[in-house]
């Protein structure tokens, strides 16, 4: 173990199989580090001498050195390269925004931001903190964005007051990207759709699911209101460069009805809700590359449910096709180097992943849908920043077509944005859902966080395409939330209990 945390110079890899789980290989790449070698020689307290850090001057600032240049050079001669190590996509984006050639995990950097966002819950607190800075303008009117999506259309007087704080601030500061009811959508559906988050961006948002934008090849992470306030004022934030974990999906063939939601739930089930705490998750392999943007956004969205700082996917043609139609400014595509260093690499066979259901009260309590089959439910929620995009609605509509929602089920559909709602309407999917007996709402976070529009009573059980199933998340502390993908949700709404879609769709 390295007593200096991860803030070391990796410069080689040793592959180590640490076991197999459900037929999937788990390998760990151990990065050698000069520190480890020097440590064995005795007298190291800190990292690399200035002579060696000419390509990494900030390392000297971050970690003043206490070993002699000779010792360091000797170790490097012995073990090969030190400074030319590859970087992950996350490290590259962070380095570029900090004005550095390279960064290493553990390093603390100050970096420039491409976008700062807040919503109607976190925004008012951020605005209050912003006020304390004694500044009268945000760092960039185009790059600070406010999205009133949680308690809107306002559910009560208190939430109306919160929204008003946001609206007044947006007006006063001349913030360009502010949307009100009738145009607003759920932030993590809206911003990618509007072309405001782009590959290579560094983004902070006062909302934990800001990590969604990793699907576009951006490094995006959730922060609190105070970080957001400082970001709005300065256009900068401090970051600890995270270690990266790689998740490889082999094979572009998936089981029927399996989508991005199942992959990410499966991962969380394997590594737990703190399995990626403070780390950057990187999703890759031909399995990921075969997925649509909507599916990728679902995966990155839930990186935070494993505790991660970011959930990133390298841009490819699919990403660029999505972005090109929307971007109004330049962007840059970063990719991980083949010799980049990962703390752990998890490998899965795409075809092995079954449909997932996460049981209360943590997203890590995953089971296959067959294990959950037959469980009675009261409410089905389809939508949210996890699964409220066009393809999600398409899947739900496909299953609901010509069928009826079970008489004892309330089925609520929350499209992510007005554009999504409109397009789904044009394609006839909204009509299909309404005819089946579902309630279709204007875009809002609504029941996802137990805010409004579909709160559960004591003892009630919901099956939901949202991302959290904590105690009380959707209502009464003694209600329950089960998480799944839109196909399972729609099929279960028809059956009145959790069911595999093949049971409901004859040709499924």
């Amino acid at each position: 173990m390295n007593p200096f945390g991860k803030a070391d110079f990796g410069f080689g890899h040793e592959k180590e199989e640490i076991g197999t789980k459900h037929g999937s290989r788990i390998t760990r790449f151990r990065a050698f580090s000069v520190i480890e070698i020097l440590k064995q020689s005795g007298n190291v307290r800190q990292i690399g001498p200035p002579e060696f850090c000419d390509q990494r001057p900030r390392m000297v600032q971050a970690n003043p050195c206490a070993i002699s240049p000779g010792e360091c050079r000797e170790a490097i001669r012995e073990k090969g390269r030190l400074l030319l190590m590859g970087m992950t996509i996350s490290e590259k984006i962070l380095a570029a925004h900090a004005g550095l050639d390279s960064v290493v995990p553990g390093e603390i950097i100050n970096a420039k931001l491409d976008l700062v966002l807040a919503n109607d819950v976190t925004g008012p607190v951020a605005i209050q903190e912003f006020g304390k800075l004694g500044i009268d303008q945000v760092y960039d009117k185009e790059r600070v964005t406010l999205v009133p999506d949680h308690f809107t259309p306002n559910k009560d007087i208190a939430s109306a007051e919160q929204s008003k704080i946001l609206r007044d601030f947006a007006k006063k500061m001349g913030i360009k990207n502010y949307w009100d009811v009738g145009r607003v959508g759920i932030e993590h559906c809206l911003l990618p759709e509007q072309g405001l988050v782009l590959p290579g961006d560094l983004i902070i948002g006062a909302d934990s699911h800001t990590c969604t934008y990793g699907a576009l090849g951006a490094f995006a992470t959730g922060v609190g209101s105070t970080d957001c306030a400082a970001g709005m004022a300065t256009g900068e934030a401090w970051f600890r460069v995270p270690e990266s974990l790689k998740f490889v999906f082999h094979g572009s063939k998936f089981q029927p009805w399996v989508g991005g939601k199942d992959l990410i739930l499966y991962i969380i089930g394997k590594i737990g809700v703190d399995g990626a705490r403070y780390k950057a998750m990187e999703f890759t392999g031909d399995g990921i590359r075969s997925l649509s943007m909507d599916n990728r956004l679902t995966i990155s969205n839930m990186a935070i449910e494993a505790g991660a700082k970011a959930g990133i996917i390298e841009p490819d043609e699919i990403t660029l096709a999505y972005v090109k139609a929307r971007a109004k400014r330049d962007y840059k595509v970063y990719k991980s180097d083949p010799d980049a260093s990962y703390e752990k690499i998890y490998e899965f066979n795409s075809e092995d992943i079954p449909l997932q259901v996460a049981f209360p009260h943590l997203p890590e309590n995953t089971k296959s849908v067959d294990e959950a089959s037959g469980l009675k439910i009261d409410q089905v929620v389809i939508g949210s920043c996890t699964n409220g995009r066009l393809e999600d609605l398409e899947i739900a509509a496909k299953i609901l077509k010509g069928k009826k929602i079970h008489p004892e089920i309330r089925c609520l559909v929350f499209p992510g944005t007005q554009d999504i709602l409109l397009e789904a309407m044009r394609r006839g999917w909204i009509e299909t859902m309404i005819q089946a007996g579902a309630a279709v709402s204007t875009p809002t976070c609504g029941p996802c966080l137990g805010g409004h529009m579909g709160i559960l009573a004591k003892g009630e059980r919901a099956l939901s395409t949202t991302n959290r199933n904590f105690v009380g998340r959707m209502g009464h502390p003694q209600s329950e939330v089960y998480l799944c993908n839109p196909a399972v949700a729609a099929a279960s709404a028809v059956r009145g209990e959790i069911v595999h879609p093949r049971e409901v769709v004859n040709n499924g």
């Binding site: 919160q162 006062a206 959730g222 970080d227 966080l449 137990g450």
Partner: protein
Amino acid sequence: MGKVWKYGHDIDTDAIIPARYMNRSEPEHLAAHCMEDADVTFAQEVKAGDVIVGGKNFGCGSSREHAPIAIKAAGVKVVIAESYARIFYRNALNIGMPILECPEAVVGTEAGDEVEVDLKSGKIDNKTKKTTFQAKPFPPFMQELIDAGGLIPYVKEKKKNA
């Protein structure tokens, strides 16, 4: 000296302050509902100077700063946990809510114990059990933030010197 309120692993932000109360953001309002879904007695009985002890991944879930604000406004002097979720950790430091990481103290402390915590040195003194523990020191940059009194005073100071 404060009384220990002990909770388990993965205490999430919905447990610390349920979203249904986040249509308002005044600290007193949040404090009145602090920990409600995990422990209904907490908000009624917590006294100024009390200590929350949690397991691993304390504060996971949402980015809501309302969580550390609620805890701070409830009068809690310090949270001690095995580990913290990333955003909660940042938020607590940013708003000046003291937190300490000390797995040994978590194991060695029970609900209702009386503890004395020295925030400067990170020393945790369990008076009931007559044991002491040493929390992990913060990285230098974090300590700078803490010493400045949180992120806003820190940024203000930096802006002034720029």
